[in-house]
């Protein structure tokens, strides 16, 4: 019995660690929709990185006589905004702040939320109860309301926007982390590790993390789409990013008054928000089914 367990276990783990990621990758590649979404998302990220080389004009340089030029004006392929700035360039530059404001809160919340959740799940007992009850309070707010409450109290600004969105995403991520960790903690090999004298930190590092980070990560990627919409929404309300920066939500806000003059021009920034949000959403869906995470 002891011999078989010792000889089989290492073999099984090696085969799993190689085969698992390869099979995830093959399954992901077979999912045409997810691959397309991934390409679009990657394209948007590249666009944000290489902005100065792609954008035809300065996003902050306006021209009074070109104000609200329609789509297709010479030199302004997507028209000009209410201050005569090139729309195409502003949409391209907008990817920087918009993606930053959408993705960074989820990343920070992933780091903080999974730490809290894994600690609460692994330690259990009263630590778990108190942590989860405190998070329940934040969970009791609809996410839009909480984000607006915090950034409304703090006032406009990129940092305040990031902060409020991070606070919004910590409780749901911590909840998922806690439930995954609790279910892993009950497994026999954790008990075996405890019996063999491993410290809590060692067990979490060697045995828990590898099993829980995947599901938490997949869940977190599904929040990026929400975060993009919320972040742009904050700027749309005059919170978050402030003028004259190029950011899609803010652009929607300032162009809203021009809706009767150049209606379709005013709607353009929203197309970018929609494109980003839907591609991240479908990418996350594909990732989930490829990694076979059940929710």
């Amino acid at each position: 019995m002891a011999v078989t367990a010792e000889t089989i276990a290492p073999l099984a783990t090696i085969e799993k660690s190689q085969g698992y990621w390869r099979s995830v990758w093959t399954r992901f590649l077979r999912d045409k929709v997810a691959v397309c979404a991934g390409l679009v998302a990657a394209g948007l990220v590249l666009m944000a990185i290489f902005t100065p080389w792609i954008a035809p004009a300065d996003p902050l340089q306006g021209s009074m006589i070109k104000r609200l030029s329609p789509i297709g004006t010479e030199g302004y392929p997507l028209g000009a905004d209410e201050l005569g700035r090139d729309m195409l360039s502003r949409l391209i530059y907008g990817a920087r702040l918009s993606l930053f404001m959408g993705v960074v809160p989820v990343l920070i919340a992933f780091a903080i939320g999974s730490t809290i959740g894994i600690a609460a799940g692994y330690l259990g007992g009263w630590v778990n109860t108190i942590t989860m009850r405190v998070l329940d309070v934040l969970y009791a707010f609809p996410s839009v309301l909480l984000a607006i409450a915090i950034s409304g109290a703090l006032g406009a600004g990129i940092l305040n926007g990031l902060l409020s969105l991070t606070v919004v995403f910590i409780p749901p991520i911590a909840r998922v982390a806690e439930s995954v960790t609790t279910s892993v903690r009950k497994l026999e090999y954790i008990e075996a590790a405890q019996a063999s004298g491993a410290s809590s930190l060692q067990i979490v590092r060697d045995h828990v993390l590898g099993n829980v980070l995947g599901p938490i990560f997949v869940y977190s990627t599904s929040l990026i789409s929400v975060s993009m919409i919320l972040a742009a929404g904050l700027s749309f309300l005059g919170l978050g990013v402030s003028p004259p920066n190029a950011e899609w939500g803010l652009m929607l806000n300032t162009l809203r008054n021009a809706i009767y003059v150049q209606p379709w021009l005013a709607a353009l920034p929203g197309v970018m928000i929609f494109l980003t949000s839907i591609s991240f959403n479908m990418l996350s869906d594909g990732l989930r089914s490829a990694m076979d995470v059940k929710q």
């Binding site: 009850r133 405190v134 329940d136 309070v137 934040l138 009791a140 707010f141 609809p142 996410s143 839009v144 309301l145 607006i148 409450a149 915090i150 409304g152 109290a153 703090l154 006032g155 789409s225 919409i229 742009a232 929404g233 749309f236 309300l237 005059g238 919170l239 929607l252 809203r256 809706i259 009767y260 209606p263 379709w264 005013a266 709607a267 920034p269 929203g270 197309v271 928000i273 929609f274 949000s277 839907i278 959403n281 479908m282 869906d285």
Partner: protein, 317 residues
């Protein structure tokens, strides 16, 4: 059942306390002196101290919180800095309008989403399933404030069929259920309904597909029950969860209506919040958020109780 309800209510009390603590903290995380917007910039030190004493800002935080909470429980949410009117009455007027919008949107979203989800789950992997899935993905990914703008562009600016903003002719604030007023409701309600539609469709699809795979369905079929009979059983089994999702979605819409209300200048709580943010009217911000969050907590409680009474198995969970 009664003990379950009592336990659930008991569990809600600390949540409510926590929620009010967060709302109380909002004013204090706000940068700068809370009185800065009321006092003239050249106010004397004595006047500042007098005002601090009147508003109670000279006391310790726990004391301030208890006094604030005590007043809030009695329906006194302080006065708006911008208008000087009591926050409670401003919020009370606005809540009605938000409810009209959110309830209409929930009904539209639930009907369409439930229908899409049901058909998709029943004819799984057919083209209709793929279409319904696509619609639900679009529904949850679309920035709804932008969708609202697009609706205005199509139906108000280009076609001139429906009014773009407001809740009645001539900016009237008294809501009446006649065509004059209802045409103002159509665009915001449809825009808002897209969010619950996607989520309800997704949930119902999964529910129906799951129920159809269970043994009792094959049992019913083996018994010779026609499809129509099976359908009734599927609906009966899917209803509690679907209704719970609907209840929660109503709560999310109530709390999240600010963006859509801003687009359509709908005179509800979201519009009020927008004003409060724009004018940095912190008591108004705090009061509106407290009321909306409490609505959400109570709605959660009601949904849980209703769901459990429809499906007693949940009591054990």
């Amino acid at each position: 059942m009664i003990s379950f309800i009592l336990r659930r209510i008991l569990y809600t009390v600390p949540i409510m306390l926590g929620v009010s603590l967060v709302c109380f903290a909002l004013v204090h995380i706000s940068p700068g002196d809370p009185l800065v917007s009321i006092l003239p910039p050249d106010a004397s030190v004595e006047l500042q101290q007098q005002m601090m004493a009147i508003y109670g800002f000279d006391r310790s935080y726990p004391e301030q919180f208890l006094r604030w909470l005590g007043r809030a429980v009695q329906g006194d949410l302080g006065n708006s800095i911008a208008t000087g009117r009591p926050v409670a009455s401003e919020v009370f007027n606005a809540v009605g309008n938000t409810l009209i919008l959110a309830v209409t949107a929930t009904i539209i979203g639930f009907t369409l989403g439930g229908l899409f989800g049901f058909v998709a789950g029943y004819f799984r992997d057919s083209w209709i399933d793929k279409l319904a899935t696509a619609i639900s993905v679009i529904g949850v990914s679309v920035p709804h404030y932008w969708l609202g703008m697009v609706m205005v562009i199509i139906f108000s600016v280009e076609l001139r069929w429906l009014p773009a903003t407001g809740a009645g002719p001539g900016g009237s604030s008294q809501w009446i259920w006649d065509w004059e007023h209802m045409q103002y409701l159509i665009l915001p309600a449809i825009t808002m309904s897209v969010i619950p539609m996607g989520i309800v469709a997704r949930t119902v699809r999964a529910l129906v597909a799951d129920i159809l795979q269970q043994e009792f369905v094959s049992g019913l079929r083996a018994k010779g029950l026609l499809d129509r009979g099976v359908l009734a059983h599927v609906i009966k089994n899917a209803a509690p969860t679907a209704l719970a999702v609907m209840g929660l979605q109503l709560g999310y819409l109530l709390g999240g209506s600010i963006l859509i209300e801003t687009v359509f200048s709908w005179p509800g709580t979201g519009f009020l919040l927008g004003q409060a943010i724009f004018q940095r009217d912190l008591p108004l911000l705090q009061g509106t958020i407290l009321v909306l969050a409490m609505f959400f907590v109570i709605l959660n409680l009601l949904v849980d109780v209703a769901q459990t009474s429809l499906d007693p198995r949940l009591q054990r969970g």
